[in-house]
Symmetry: C2
Subunit: 136 residues, 2 copies
């Protein structure tokens, strides 16, 4: 059995993050030491690494909680897992599209001012203002 600091080292998560996951019901220490320190075993390490891998895929804690539940209900259908991943992919793709558009706009903005003028003549601010008066 290991204490939270060692679990943090092994997993690469911070101590606070592990405690946060416990609060969010993703991971719990089944045992405590005499002095009330959390004690973890090998299964906990695996569970935390699973969580960490899911987080690296930007799954939310709620989604991970769901996956962990499915994981331990052998009769449930893969479809639920598939659907979650599918929705997540769509979400990521929407965000990529948004950011790509944003990037274009920012680059157009950047082109509007390059020299060392005072703000009075700054093309960027002029552009930002122009957009304002247009939409007004």
């Amino acid at each position: 059995m290991i204490k939270i600091g060692e679990l943090a080292k092994i997993s690469g998560c911070s101590v606070q993050t592990i405690r946060h996951y416990e609060k969010e019901q993703l991971l719990s220490a089944k045992l405590r030491s005499d002095g009330n320190f959390r004690l973890y075993d090998h299964a906990d390490i695996e569970r935390l690494l699973f969580i960490k891998h899911c987080r690296s895929l930007d799954l939310s804690l709620a989604e991970i909680r769901q996956l962990l539940t499915l994981h331990h209900s052998p009769m449930s259908q893969c479809d639920d897992v598939n659907q979650m991943i599918e929705q997540h992919i769509e979400q990521v793709e929407r965000r990529i599209a948004e950011l790509t558009l944003l990037n274009k706009q920012l680059k157009a903005l950047r082109r509007s001012c390059t020299s060392k003028r005072t703000v009075e003549h700054c093309g960027i601010l002029k552009q930002l203002n122009k957009a304002v008066s247009q939409s007004n």
Copy 2:
């Protein structure tokens, strides 16, 4: 002079958002009615639309505050504005790269399970676990 509800309509921001911007020192009503209602003029409308446009470019409230300050300091240099936009572009591009990688990983994961099996044999969960035991 208009009240906050009308400013909200004109700008497309919610009433709470406008009050939030005031709290964040981006926009303030210089006048209040006898009954303590905020009163706005044309300059306030323009300022709010400027803020809204910047937000649509994902600039943070802190960045916008800085832009507004520069905006009203005619002696400051464009360089400050340029640098901020430059950094923002870099940040957006980093995030796009991250999400693109993420998307690839999620799609690989999706390919690992397609049929209606029970979770016991779910390829996605197997993949997620495999990653865990590899990194352990």
